[in-house]
């Protein structure tokens, strides 16, 4: 089975390579080499597809992903709220393989030797690369919340901040909760993945309670001093749609939990909930630290904005939530997809002996559901600034919705369908 896949991969690569040489030029078609991509989320799947598409098959791409299918974090709060299913947020890797000739391997990368340009797989042995792309997302700093720092605790007090089994498990906890119960979500200090996500989740859980368990409450324990995204629009939704159901507590950093009683422990306060949902602080996915690349604050990868290449380690590019972000840049799936394209263009140039594009642009849109139909957005555009060597937000561009509305609810689902296709179809 594995042999077949490898042979098909080589065949596709050779055919596409021949095509590329027919039409090739220094602009892209002449790029050759093997790029290994670690992580098949919004960043990794995008860079894999775009490397194949833009090099016209000249670059061989291997994508290593530990999960059998892609499951989207964006839209997953609707599964937790009960209006969407896991099937709605799950997409296959089949098109990446059959249509784009990406070799997709389900495995874990356990080490990187950047000097020898090799990655070590848990099951599949060593693999060499010309360029490596790490798109590992985040891992959680459970050590910051001692009571959560073991598997049993983590199976009871969920984060559901990576879509998958925890999404289902949190939904089940909410379904099992009695009317009159309390759901609490604890938000870590920024930066964290998806700034508006926790406030959206509070809305959608309250929306579920309003319909089925109207005596229940939602409490937001925010480590930050204020709502981190779309504040006015979220607060208005809480007041208009969920009056008396949602309580917001700023400056409430969870330092520990008591698993037996489902209690969040803050510096001066404690809070016991029927369903306690703690999103721990995060850092770049573990493989970033294991690969020996430079981390800022021991957490986020420092990258060159012209190429997404690590500032410390040539040949390793890093995308998505794992990076030390540029000013006002959110950790979002949309942004990771944009990083993927920036990196793909740069890698193709570098493998063709050209400099990366000196003027990259990335942009972000983020839609949040405040109930199953009404949505609010935030958008921004970021242009490379040669003076600061960082992509900077364009002044006067971007912004938020005027008010929540159903039209943007439709647009949000249109966004999801198109970005999933942009990565995986």
């Amino acid at each position: 089975m594995m042999l077949m896949k490898r042979r098909d991969f080589l065949k596709v690569g050779a055919a596409a390579g021949a095509m590329a040489s027919l039409y090739g030029c220094a602009g892209g078609g002449s790029a050759r080499g093997h790029v290994v991509v670690v992580g098949g989320g919004y960043g990794g799947a995008t860079v894999a597809k775009y490397l194949r598409m833009w090099s016209e098959g000249g670059i061989q791409v291997t994508l290593i992903e530990r999960n059998p299918t892609f499951i989207s974090c964006p839209i997953s709060n609707l599964v937790i709220g009960g209006s969407k299913t896991m099937e709605d947020i799950t997409v296959s890797y089949d098109n990446l393989k059959s249509k784009w000739g990406v070799r997709v391997i389900q495995d874990d990368v356990v080490g990187v030797d950047s000097a020898k340009r090799m990655v070590k797989l848990a099951k599949g042995g060593d693999m060499s690369y010309d360029r490596l792309v790490l798109s590992p997302g985040v891992d959680f700093m459970f050590d910051q919340i001692p009571g959560l720092n073991n598997a049993a605790a983590q199976s009871k007090i969920l984060h559901a901040w990576k879509a998958g089994p925890q999404t289902i498990a949190l939904r089940q906890q909410l379904e099992a909760m009695k009317d009159g119960g309390t759901y609490a979500i604890a938000i870590p200090k920024a930066p964290y993945r998806c700034p508006p996500g926790p406030y959206e989740r509070a809305c959608l859980v309250a929306n579920y309670f309003k319909k089925t368990k109207p005596k229940s409450k939602v409490v937001i324990l925010d480590a930050n001093e204020d709502v981190q995204s779309k504040k006015g629009l979220f607060v208005k939704a809480w007041n208009d749609l969920y009056k008396g159901m949602i309580e917001y507590r700023p400056n409430s950093e969870v330092k520990d939990v008591d698993v037996a009683t489902n209690t969040a422990v803050m510096e001066f306060d404690k809070f016991t909930a029927d369903v306690l949902n703690v999103v721990p602080p995060h850092r770049a996915g573990d493989i970033a630290a294991k690969s020996g690349i430079k981390l800022v604050n021991n957490r986020w990868v420092d990258i060159n904005w012209l190429s997404m290449e690590s500032t410390s380690t040539p040949g390793i590019h890093v995308l998505g939530d794992a990076i030390f972000p540029a000013p006002t840049m959110p950790k979002s799936g949309h942004m990771a997809n944009q990083h993927g394209k920036l990196a793909a263009a740069a890698i193709i140039n570098m493998l063709s002996g050209l400099e990366p594009n000196p003027a990259p642009v990335v942009m972000n849109t983020c839609y949040s559901f405040v109930d199953e139909k009404n949505v609010i957005h935030v958008a921004s555009v970021h242009q490379y600034d040669a003076a600061t060597k960082v992509v900077q937000p364009v002044k006067g561009a971007g912004g938020i919705s005027v008010a929540r509305n159903e039209l943007e609810g439709k647009v949000a689902m249109g966004w999801a369908k198109n970005i999933w296709a942009d990565m995986l179809a």
Binding site: Y23, G24, C25, A26, G27, G28, G29, K49, Y50, M53, W54, E56, H334, N337, Q338, K341, L342, A345, N349, L354, E355, P356, N357, P358, A359, P360, V361, V362, M363, T365, H377, A379, S380, V381, H382, Q383, V394, G396, A397, G398, G399, S401, N405, L407, E408, K410, V411, M413, G414, W415, K417, N418, I419, A421, D422, A425
Partner: protein, 101 residues
């Protein structure tokens, strides 16, 4: 085959380019920032409700973008996004999408 003409043009650009010149694929790269919503190369997913920009006349795309920028065309989000790009960048984006089949 459809890629031949633009690539040939890009080859000319590439041979002339040095590190400080514009990237020969700048239009492609800029247009790719739109693909999250408007589909890869402007081929929006059918039935998704998003404008498919592939093959749309360049002048039409530019007029839409200008109207978003000026506020003449009401929008939920495009008035905010279009302002993030220079007119020269929007021209490259429109050129790229118009050339897509």
């Amino acid at each position: 085959m459809k890629l031949f003409a633009p690539l040939a043009a890009l080859c000319l650009l590439a041979t002339a380019s040095v590190s400080h010149a514009a990237d020969p694929n700048l239009g492609r790269n800029l247009a790719a920032t739109c693909a999250n919503c408007h589909g890869t190369n402007g081929h929006a997913v059918k039935g998704s409700g998003m404008d498919a920009l592939a093959g749309m006349e360049k002048a039409k795309i530019l007029q839409k973008l200008a109207d978003f920028k000026s506020g003449d065309k009401p929008a939920s989000i495009m008035h905010q996004i279009s302002k993030g790009y220079t007119d020269a960048q929007l021209d490259l984006i429109a050129t790229y999408f118009a050339a897509q089949k």
